[in-house]
């Protein structure tokens, strides 16, 4: 159908590669659900075909993400950003009847389990916070797996140049949480809802600073900045961004590059977990 310019690929991970390749071969631009693949990537197929590849990580397109990067650039407020911590957990696994038939935790459809479905966002937040630096090493532990070896609860630590650290946890067996924090030497930036906003077109983050009070009897905490962002629905913005690129006819190299970085770190998490949490360099995996 020549009317179709963009194909959205929301298929189970195991089926994505086939359809991304078919779409690219047909010269269709690709908006792909995460994770990109069970192993490796396939954004290169899009590059070869001369079409745009973009993953569907919606918070990338929210005004708040731009605001966050502005604060990070201002070291007077946070100090030096050294630590990113985030969590994304959704209790998909707590209804045994439903979980048994849920493709999110089937080895043949979604072998990356909670890491592919949720941890992807944790990794991406860290990439944004550290301005897309490559991590030097990743250590990951699976704390709970299905009988098939699909992780449903796990944690990871990523080492970045200069002693900066990113950490996250993701799981299908805990109450829904989706917070992030970016910690500097002076203050800390907090998000209550970094993946999907609590409200439709309202989002915020706070920067707070705590100190040791008189005789250490209190540790007063002060919110030094609260930034609010209205009139932005990130789902809509994502579609708008993809349309804008397609209409302009000018491909944006940034999107496939950052997709590949996230996918590579995700792969290193799995390699580490299968080695009992050993430090693994994503660049050499």
């Amino acid at each position: 159908d020549p009317e179709v310019q963009v194909v959205y690929v929301p298929l189970p991970t195991s089926m994505k590669r086939e359809w991304v390749l078919k779409a690219a071969a047909a010269k269709k631009h690709v908006l792909c659900e995460k994770p990109l693949a069970a192993t490796g990537s396939h954004d290169e197929a899009c590059a070869a075909a001369g079409v745009q590849f973009m993953d569907n990580t919606m918070f990338m397109h929210h005004d708040r993400t731009v605001g966050m990067q502005e604060v990070l650039a201002d070291t007077a407020l946070l100090g030096e950003a050294r630590h990113v911590n985030s969590t994304f957990t959704i209790p998909f696994g707590n209804d045994p009847e439903w979980a048994g038939s849920n493709i999110r935790m089937k080895g043949d459809s979604e072998p990356l389990g909670c890491f592919g479905d949720l941890g992807w966002y944790n990794i991406r937040l860290t990439e944004v916070a550290f301005n897309y630096a490559d991590p030097e090493a990743v250590s990951c532990q699976f704390l709970q797996e299905t009988d098939e070896g699909v992780p449903v609860y796990g944690i990871a630590t990523m080492k970045y140049p200069g002693g900066r650290i990113g950490r996250f946890e993701c799981s299908f067996v805990h109450a829904l949480r989706q917070w992030g924090e970016i910690v500097g030497t002076e203050a800390s930036m907090d998000f209550r809802d970094f993946v999907v906003t609590n409200e439709k077109s309202q989002a915020s983050f706070t920067v707070s600073k705590s100190t040791i009070g008189d005789r250490a009897i209190t540790f007063p905490r002060e919110v030094v900045l609260e930034k609010k962002f209205g009139d932005c629905v990130q789902h809509t913005r994502t579609i708008e961004k993809m349309s804008e690129i397609v209409v302009s006819g000018k491909l944006d190299e940034f999107w496939p590059k950052v997709s590949l970085q996230t996918q590579t770190i995700l792969g290193a998490c799995f390699t580490s977990a299968r080695q009992g949490g050993a430090w693994v360099n994503p660049a050499t995996e």
Copy 2:
């Protein structure tokens, strides 16, 4: 001096054992700063001497801690408590001139570094949340150390029976933060100030629950319970508790027992970190 009934031992860790033993031998009750020792413990000296041993972990005596345990006992709210996450970081290490002479990070006075000074509280929160169960295994990584090998930034994961997990991070090189969260299958309990309260005689915790909204465009978050506790200064309560025991003449076995548990987990963290994060059973260390 026969007028003295209780000795408070706030000395550097390396000097504590000598003075706890002297106090016990002189039949004085002991209120001891944490950690108890660089290796092992010495609460047994107090037991042998027939005096009370108590560590100075003040939040144990706050009304809020009792309120937290009440909520944990009510599974209708949180579901099953499966995960405890906490952080305690104070930027003692970010002023190089001061840090160089700070006993908090000298190998001969405080070899346990940020784990002894701060991580002690993280471990204790986890113990309280999981009702003093013994962890089956501990994995710990030091992310930054002084030249002498004193940790100033580190993370640990504790595995408890039934797949429950406690995690924490502590550091001397990040902005002051002291939050804790106890996560169940249904909802999550949050503390902004679990170690030392932000205000002198006011403390709270919240229990919140998030859900997936219509077409997953929002993840609405609702605070389902906020408990506030006034008129309680935990520093005062600690002294009152110790005085009460001394005046009653009836020793309380709970306090030395929980001190020893915390110290044992702390020791296992060090063993694990020196083995590159391997899982270590605290009971067999």
